[in-house]
Amino acid sequence: MTDMLVPDDPASATVAATTAPRPAMRRAGPARTVRVGFVPLVDVAVLVAAAEQGFAEREGLRLDLVRDVSWSNIRDRLAFRQFDVAHALAPMPVASQLKLGSNPFPSFTPFMLGRGGNAITLSVPLYREMADLAGLDGSEDSLANARALRAVIDRRAAAGKPPLVLAMTYPFSSHNYEFRFWMAAGGIDPDRDVTMTIVPPPFTADAIAAGAIDGFCVNAPWNLIAVERGVGRVVATKRDIWPSSPEKVLAVRPDWAEANEETLHRLIVALDSAARWCDEPDNHGTLSDLLALPAYVGAPAVLFRTLLAGRFPIDPNGRIREIPDYLAFHRGMANFPWRSQAHWIFAQMVRWGQVPWSADGATVAAAAFRPDIYRAALGERAGPVDALRIEGDAAADGFLEGGPFDPADISAYLARFPIRSDVPVSSTDK
């Protein structure tokens, strides 16, 4: 087989071997370097484990993990060939295929990096106001919390106070869609009743402490940090909204994938092993220590241990919540790119007016998820060929509102939601 380094010069990339046979044992020859961009969040775990626990090495790969500060940078540095692949939000490749955003360079994902980790945190004074008004004792579920927030919003509006400011991390993010999903389930229109804004994750605790925002939806460990600092109260977690909701993905640059097909397959094999390793409770200590390193997430290791155990404080008073499967890296087919999930993401984009509904749009969106590459790397039994299923119809995997999602009928699904900001179809027809 031809062993070659990943070319930096895209022009020479075309000569890379694409279909070399795969040896069964440890790969021979010089390691191939893959440049991987990431944002410091707990779900970079699979990439870190692959780089640090020998899974990449076993596949003859060297992962060059590069920390970055924003999702815009991840997208642009992927587009401008500084990264080959990247840790990205699941909606990012979907948005890129739909040409949404200020630099819609297309990317796709053949591998999901895990589920879970998100939560919605409100400021302590806001939660107190909710508790007073709605008589909350702290044990309520996320829907009761959303309704209590609605009551506070109504009272504030009646008193002529400015709308609450709620933050998420990126317009094309699970955080944006989950926050909106939760609010709408409680009767809040996120486009009319509150002001939605962006705060980069590392600044969320400061922003809520300073009163610049009244709440946020962000991935771990930032919710826990706000609680531990005594400034935030977790009112909902991803599990309450939709347990299977896709979170981060491996975003891949198409021209790199084309020129380095075999390297991509090896990378997926390495990540598959790393994801299994991350799920093992026995490895959580080591994983926490790795994530704590300044080069990766750079937060105290004890924080990661708490999060990985799925049992953590949601209130500065010390109320503990147990959330099984809060973070899942592999189990329950967490790595498989279900096209039905790309359709669900597209449905959220339509629901909130980011893109008009069209059947073509749904097809384009689904092309961002590549189960074919996942199966090519891991075997035909790794997942179904069409990668379509009714989402959220299992007893333990329901949506907070609206019932199961059938990718074959997005319009009917969206019609079930009274609160939405979608562009009427008639006005967008040619």
């Binding site: 924003s70 642009d76 955003g101 980069p200 600044f203």
Partner: protein, 211 residues
């Protein structure tokens, strides 16, 4: 690939005919902001405004209504802009990143320099190009300055630590200053390390041995 940047065939807009381009520089570092603003003013761009982290980004940009926005790649508030463009699109005020395959070299230079720019759709290419090139060269100039400053600081710190190590050697081995320095140099050469590194080792060791 469809790109957001304006094509030559774009019909003329107000932005093409007006003499002054309004440029917003989103920059936390006052020195880099000053270097960039100076460069742009020298290039004839007078309507330049710096927005720092203490300002409300959206409000300032809304009031200023810039034609071009320049922001460093290391600034996490790029994601805030992304949201603003989403919202502003609804208000039909499109802002797009300067992306054009024809300008691949310049884009790569910009990414390497750590700068990104956003322009209002329909702006003439050559005018934007001059601004982005200026931003790149000024970002690089700032980088050079920063490196020189770091090197100077490191050198000063090195000198200080060499002085301290010499003092320790003179005291513990009862030797003169020149002999102490000769010892450090000798160790530096035989271990192939910098004199300041050897000196640091001496200082660290001494502090560990102290009670």
């Amino acid at each position: 690939m469809v790109l957001a940047a304006p094509e030559a065939a774009t019909p003329p807009t107000a932005a093409m005919t007006q003499p002054f381009l309004r440029i917003a520089v989103i920059e936390e570092n006052a020195v880099r902001a000053a270097i960039l603003v100076d460069g742009l003013r020298e290039g004839g761009m007078t309507a330049v405004e710096v927005i720092s982290s203490t300002d409300s980004l959206m409000r300032r940009l809304m009031v200023m209504n810039p034609d071009v926005i320049i922001i460093g790649l290391e600034n996490p508030r790029r994601d805030v802009l992304e949201q603003m463009f989403q919202v502003s699109k609804l208000a039909s005020r499109p802002v797009a990143m300067f992306v054009d395959q024809a300008e691949q070299d310049m884009i790569e230079a910009a990414v390497n320099a750590g700068v990104s720019a956003y322009v209002v759709d329909g702006l003439r290419k050559d005018r934007v190009k001059a601004i982005v090139e200026m931003a790149i060269s000024r970002f690089n100039a700032f980088d050079r300055l920063q490196r020189e400053l770091d090197a100077t600081k490191a050198e000063l710190a090195g000198r200080k630590v060499i002085e301290r190590a010499k003092g320790i050697l003179m005291r513990t081995r009862q030797i003169g200053e020149e002999q102490a320095y000769a010892l450090l140099r000798q160790a530096s050469m035989s271990e192939n390390r910098k004199v300041s590194d050897v000196a640091q080792a001496v200082v660290t060791a001494a502090s560990l041995l102290e009670k």
